[in-house]
């Protein structure tokens, strides 16, 4: 049973929440059976392709959408009846939604003004926020005079000024160019750690999710497919979709030879056996054919007769820090192998035969989709 103390450790509890738009034939299930607990002070990310429901879930937390089923609790309190302006939750909108008729300072101070705080406090907090996001000199400017990156920082400051318990960020970096984006990612992470506010971050960029998050929930078509730390999601994806969505991956269909606890032995075409991890709750039987994934950097190049699998080189793509070598396996399936570009190794020739060694225990067996 969940105790009261445990309850308050969780900032947000989402219990079996569902959301449907429309009715009857045109009903669209945006959220299906969402179960989630976000901890205080956590940088939590909702990751998924567009249309997966991540933004809807964010809006449910903010109070702009009401769930058709399930419960939403913030700091242990059921917020079903609470309007957005009653929840201590603030949003950084995707298009920033800065008030065009107000200056930067007025935008930032808006929340506090609505809460009726004294002028002196508003001024002090506004200054503090502008300093935090490094926009000190821009107080009197209007949003139309700012660049995209500057607007984003103002939106952030505006949402932080009322010192909410939870900050919701709806793909805030998607409109920025690459370099600015990387800068802002570091900034956001730093801010989150400094302020200790729970961040719920929505993005479709898996790299962003991996670099910034404490935990990630991968969503697809209204459901959460997997919840875990970036390492767990990356190294131990439980479904094909998650494996494909995050980074590059190779899929091998192999037969189970033996099962022991949370690992199994799989048979390779060459007859060799390699160990693999099992996704939680999975219990395959001997003789089953399962899908297993392995990341490109967990395979190494070797001579054709050594290694686990023979392969033919298709081509090699240079990526600066490493090289991706595209191979074709004996059964015709493609395979990607990643190799760091130190040691001054030369690329293998196109069409040449090589061998692939799979790191032991790196294979992850997936649940059926």
């Amino acid at each position: 049973m969940v105790t009261d103390q445990q309850n308050h450790h969780d900032e947000i509890e989402i219990v079996r929440v569902g959301k449907v738009f429309g009715q009857g034939d045109t009903a669209y299930h945006a959220l299906i059976d969402i179960d989630l607990a976000i901890r205080s002070g956590e940088f939590f990310t909702l990751l998924g392709p567009s249309g997966c429901g991540k933004t809807t879930l964010l809006r449910v937390i903010a109070g702009f959408e009401h769930p058709n089923s399930g419960t939403l609790r913030i700091k242990g309190v059921d917020v079903a009846g609470q309007a957005p302006n009653q929840r201590r939750v603030n949003t950084v909108f995707q298009n920033y939604a800065l008030f065009p008729h107000l200056t930067v300072a007025q935008n930032i101070g808006f929340g506090l003004k609505m809460l009726g705080r004294p002028r002196a406090e508003i001024a002090a907090t506004t200054d503090e926020m502008m300093h935090l996001v490094k926009m000190d000199s821009m107080a009197a400017r209007k949003p139309a005079e700012l660049s995209g990156g500057q607007q984003q920082r103002v939106a952030l400051a505006r949402a932080l000024a009322p010192r909410p318990n939870v900050l919701l960020l709806d793909e805030p970096l998607s409109a920025l160019d690459l370099k600015l984006r990387k800068e802002m990612q570091t900034e956001l992470k730093r801010l989150q750690v400094e302020t200790g506010i729970t961040f719920v971050f929505v993005t479709h960029d898996q790299e962003e999710a991996l670099t910034m998050s404490d935990r990630i929930a991968v969503m697809q078509q209204g459901r959460i497919l997997q919840l875990g730390t970036p390492q767990e999601i990356y190294h131990a994806p439980t479904t094909r979709f998650v494996a494909d969505f995050i980074g590059e991956t190779n899929v091998l269909n192999l037969q189970v030879v033996a099962v022991q606890g949370n690992s199994a032995e799989l048979a390779l075409p060459s007859g060799q056996v390699v160990s693999a991890r099992l996704a939680a709750g999975l219990v395959p039987k001997q003789g089953d054919t399962v899908a297993a994934v392995i990341r490109p950097e967990q395979a190494t190049l070797t001579t054709p007769d050594a290694g686990h699998m023979p392969a033919t080189v298709h081509n090699a793509v240079f990526f600066g820090t490493d090289t991706h070598i595209h191979l074709t396996l004996a059964d015709g399936q493609p395979f990607i192998l990643r190799r760091q570009n130190n040691a001054g190794l030369s690329d293998p020739e196109q069409g040449s035969q090589i061998g692939v060694t799979l790191a032991q225990g790196a294979l992850q067996i997936l649940k059926g989709d």
């Binding site: 957005p84 302006n85 603030n90 008030f99 609505m114 139309a144």
Partner: protein, 298 residues
């Protein structure tokens, strides 16, 4: 565009311009000229230069002691009434028109057309018919009085006709759609994500209205106000029918000079005065809106 087509353009546009100059703009010049002439014996003008008409617009001369000059209180009362009634009309139209425009703008898109149609129909109805309709409601044997007496609320009819109140009712009724349409246009373009942001930042509904919505629809609001105010000050039919001789506005005063008043130059001078006020209001409006759009685009 080469030279020959340029000539073409002028040829095309000139018939319209000719008609307009002849029958609209040109006559205005004549009015200006007439305001400086003397009244003729049986109406019309005598071709003698005189500033008496302009003098009479603002001042009164004692018939027996011409040195006694006082402000023309009667005319002043008319001017005052005109401005005051027009202002009140604008306020009433704003108070009723804003929620109406908001209501239409927040209907689902496929239903909006119907509501727009509904608000437009009275606007296209003949001004006279609309004024007549109001008269039928408020006159002593009219609908409202009959209803009140039938319900036992009053025993005698309430005199509503031929008062400032009647004119105000009439003008508000007639000009209301003119406030709604520009407001609606501005509200339709409103980015509701900004409204959401307002709520997200703890604003109550009234605070969102005051701090987010109103500032953002201000151009529509100003346009609507001008569209009501300017025709109001130039109104003739409505005050004529509903106000009679007792609640005169500038328009009626002008018409009087060409009827019973038999003082064409005075009428011309008053007309010029009205024109100047209207043009000033228009210029003011243009200044304000260009400043707004200038500010908006930074």
């Amino acid at each position: 565009m080469n030279r020959s087509t340029h000539g073409w353009k002028w040829l095309l546009v000139s018939p319209a311009l000719l008609v307009l100059v002849f029958a609209a703009s040109g006559p205005l010049l004549i009015v200006a000229v007439y305001s400086f002439l003397s009244p003729g014996n049986m109406g019309g003008v005598a071709w003698e230069f005189s500033t008496e008409a302009w003098f009479r617009v603002f001042f009164k001369r004692d018939i027996f002691e011409p040195e006694n000059v006082a402000l023309n209180a009667d005319f002043l009362a008319v001017f005052q009434r005109t401005l005051w009634l027009s202002f009140q009309t604008t306020v009433i139209c704003a108070l009723l028109g804003f929620p109406t425009a908001w209501f239409i703008a927040t209907r689902p898109p496929h239903r909006r057309m119907i509501w727009l149609f509904l608000i437009t129909v009275p606007f296209w109805t003949n001004l006279l018919i609309r004024t007549f309709a109001i008269q039928e409601l408020i006159r002593n044997n009219g609908t409202i009085n009959t209803l009140l007496q039938w319900l036992g609320i009053t025993s005698r009819p309430i005199d509503m006709m031929y008062t400032d109140f009647a004119v105000l009712m009439g003008m508000s009724y007639v000009f209301l759609p003119l406030m709604v349409l520009p407001l609606y246009a501005a509200m339709e373009k409103l980015d509701f994500r900004l409204v959401e942001a307002g709520y997200d930042l703890y604003a109550s509904r009234m605070q969102v209205l005051r701090h987010v919505i109103l500032p953002l629809v201000k151009p529509g609001f100003i346009a609507g106000s001008i569209l009501v105010f300017i025709p109001s000050i130039g109104a003739y039919v409505t005050p004529s029918v509903l106000g009679g001789g007792r609640s005169m506005m500038v328009g009626n005063l002008i018409a009087l000079q060409f009827g019973q008043g038999r003082n064409w130059p005075l009428g011309a001078a008053l007309a010029m005065l009205l024109l100047v006020v209207v043009v000033t209001a228009l210029i003011f409006y243009l200044r304000v809106t260009s400043r707004e759009t200038g500010e908006r685009h930074g």
